[in-house]
């Protein structure tokens, strides 16, 4: 669905169901250079089970207009504004990778609006390899190849997509490459690299939080994901074996099962 946030055309997938502001809202926030398309194996499920779902495209990403936001802080604030823009007062947030930093910032800036937080493949900081950052800022497609290499676990490198016929590495690669790399991935990588508030923000979080981590994650390593979870009071941690950074696709079913349980417990549908 298209709607305006701060006057700018914004796209969010509603998971195949018309948006209804009276249902509990779950917002999904994608990682660097990506879009709503990475969430298809989680969003449709919730959308057809009584929730309103928004898998947003950050400004300048996917089908959203505008320019990419330059800092994690701005992106976090923007996600907070999405909630009001669709006529809601509160939401649960699910972030992946950079989206973890963004959703944590959103909670820090709009604590009253956020009910639960799920972090997938997160870390309290995502410092970028300088060479990778430079390639992305130069729109060099090699940046995307490197990203896809790091983002997928050993199993994902062979394939075995949950949706028959899809090939992990190239799907991710084309989502990024269908935009100007420097304007999306380049800006996002720089924002991640610059962001230093992670540990402080994490320590102040006070809401039901779940971390889903891939045992073979080479983008945000398992140990860094665990450190982040340790900062967060009472955070649940679920580790998916044989899985890289793209758990939402590489192990979509396991990811969905974990998320389903967490949402059912902490953000249940009204009776």
């Amino acid at each position: 669905m298209k709607f305006k946030v701060r006057g700018i055309d914004t796209f969010a997938s509603t998971g195949g169901r018309p948006f209804d502001k009276n249902k509990p809202l779950i917002i999904f926030v994608h990682g660097s250079g990506l879009s709503h398309m990475v969430w298809v194996l989680q969003t449709r499920y919730f959308a057809f089970r009584g929730y309103s779902v928004l898998a947003v495209d950050l400004p300048g990403h996917g089908l959203s207009s505008g320019e990419s936001l330059k800092t994690i802080e701005e992106m976090g604030d923007w996600v907070g504004d999405v909630i009001g823009a669709v006529g809601c007062k509160e939401a649960s947030l699910v972030g992946h990778s950079q989206g973890c930093l963004v959703t944590m910032e959103c909670v820090a800036q709009h604590p009253e609006k956020i009910k639960t937080l799920t972090l997938m493949g997160g870390a309290s900081a995502i410092p970028m390899n300088p060479e990778l950052l430079k390639l992305a800022e130069e729109s060099n497609p090699k940046a995307v190849d490197l990203m896809m290499d790091f983002a997928h676990g050993p199993a994902g490198h062979f394939g075995g997509h949950p949706v028959p016929g899809l090939y992990h590495l190239n799907v991710g690669s084309m989502i990024v490459q269908n935009k100007e790399i420097k304007d999306t991935l380049g800006v996002d990588f720089r924002a991640c690299d610059n962001y230093k508030n992670g540990p402080e923000v994490a320590k102040k979080l006070d809401l039901p939080t779940l971390s889903i981590l891939g045992a073979q994650d080479r983008m945000c390593r398992l140990k860094d994901g665990k450190i982040l979870a340790d900062y967060i009071k009472g955070s649940e941690v679920k580790i998916i074996e044989d899985c890289g950074h793209m758990m939402l696709l590489e192990e979509a079913d396991q990811t969905l099962e974990i998320l389903k349980k967490f949402i059912a417990e902490h953000y249940p549908l009204p009776n």
Binding site: Y167, V171, A252
Partner: protein, 436 residues
């Protein structure tokens, strides 16, 4: 710093398959089953509604076939693939997913005969019309585009005349018109050419040929490059507008770079059902393991064959993009640097009768209606593959009565030559031996 993603030969052996999820079986298992158990009703509903990935019924997908799909997809550099019962069904499914009644296609005139018939005779029955353009007539592709044109379709190296379509330029024409370029890359395989790197948006194959190499099984595949923006104009409403069959799902919005394949499976496979048998998928996978090795030898044997035929007194002309003086040699060197494939057409002196005598007297080369077998194959198109065509269509398709089409196999080159010498000897006195 370089990505450590697997390269071509490794992918041809491993892509799409994980032994750890298949009882440790090193070879891909054949899932000889029609259907798959649901965990519970919620799981079933989620699968049917494309909320989760997985298998429901083998008309839609099958785990063995899935490995083949991912493997070809990886080799082509595509985002998604859909395997079909034959090359023809891959083409049919592609066009039926792309077009509605009242739509139009621009198509290269030098195609496999079956594909010509599909566009010329069968698709009009569904209200889909075609304008044919000669493969070298790049401007012609542009001129043929109408407001209701939904795509450009062609074989990179036309069959059987070996004329090249200028894929990079034709792809620019397609881009300008906001329509996809679809390439039938059967003759090249991804070993010789990866059309997505030259501007194609969709690729189809008859896997019956070089991809399998063993001549055992029929199969086809559609591969999506993930490059085409279906939402750039209003030409593709079935891709962009809510689709009734799945609760108002917009394939382009939801699946982006895999939207076409998702649609082709969800609608085309569901309703038309040309699914690939798992045993056949396995046979093709078996062949794919040696794709590079075979294509290398196909091409080196073909080069020697071109030289042999070019210097033969009984041969009037030889057509292969590597042949000296071939008008497309330069383009071929650019987009087919590893070789231009193993299809050769040549004219035999003495015309139709000599051709028939040649065919009837070779013994090692197999006379049959296929190409891309590991064995050397010969045929006389005017009397076989293209025999349903009238004189004018034959000429437009670049055919002549003296033409012999040769698919060079992997035999020892000397053995092929010895066999051909017998054929040429007989062709010199066709009246005596033509009907042996």
């Amino acid at each position: 710093m370089d990505p450590k993603t697997y390269k071509f030969d490794t992918l041809s052996l491993h892509a799409g398959y994980q032994p750890s999820k298949n009882a440790g079986s090193r070879q891909v298992p054949i899932y000889q089953t029609t259907s798959y158990m649901f965990d519970d009703v919620d799981h079933a509903a989620a699968l049917f509604n494309l909320e989760r990935g997985g298998h429901i019924y083998s008309r839609m997908s099958n785990p063995t076939v899935q490995v083949l799909e991912e493997r070809v997809c990886a080799l082509e550099g595509g985002t998604a693939a859909l395997a079909t019962a034959s090359g023809m069904s891959a083409i049919f499914l592609t066009i039926m997913t792309l077009c509605n009644a009242g739509d139009h296609m621009v198509v290269s005139s030098q195609l496999y005969g079956g594909t010509v018939n599909l566009f010329r005779l069968t698709l009009p029955k569904f209200g889909i019309k075609t304008t044919f353009v000669k493969p070298r007539d790049t401007e012609g592709f542009k001129k043929a585009i109408q407001p209701n044109t939904k795509g450009i379709f062609g074989e990179l190296v036309g069959n059987p005349g070996n004329e090249l379509m200028n894929m990079p330029e034709v792809s620019n024409i397609a881009k300008e018109a906001g329509i996809p370029l679809i390439i039938d890359s059967t003759y090249q395989t991804p070993y010789l050419c990866r059309p997505f790197e030259h501007g194609a948006d969709l690729v189809v194959h008859s896997l019956t040929k070089w991809m399998s190499g063993n001549g055992s099984s029929m199969a086809g595949i559609l591969v999506e490059g993930g490059t085409f923006d279906w939402m750039q104009n209003d030409k593709f409403p079935t891709m962009t507008e809510p689709y009734e069959g799945y609760h108002g799902l917009s394939f382009a919005e939801e699946f982006g770079p895999t939207a076409f394949t998702m649609m082709a499976r969800a609608e085309g496979m569901r309703d038309m059902g040309p699914c690939l048998a798992p045993q056949n998928a396995w046979n093709i996978l078996h062949g794919l393991e040696t794709l590079s090795l075979r294509m290398e030898k196909h091409c080196s044997n073909a080069l020697k064959m071109v030289e042999y035929l070019s210097n033969h007194e009984s041969v009037a002309w030889v057509s292969h993009a590597s042949a000296p003086g071939h008008p497309d040699k330069e383009l071929a060197e650019k987009i087919l640097p590893k070789g231009t494939g193993s299809m050769i057409a040549f004219g035999i002196k003495g015309g139709k009768e000599a051709g028939a005598a040649f065919i009837n007297n070779v013994k090692l080369a197999s006379h049959l209606a296929n190409v891309g077998d590991a064995r050397t194959l010969v045929i006389h198109p005017a009397s076989a593959t293209h025999s349903q065509m009238d004189e004018a269509t034959l000429k437009f398709a670049g055919l002549s009565h003296d033409m012999i089409r040769l698919s060079v196999g992997l035999e020892d080159f000397e053995d092929i030559v010895n066999d051909f010498e017998d054929g040429f000897r007989a062709a010199k006195k066709p009246r005596l031996v033509a009907n042996k």
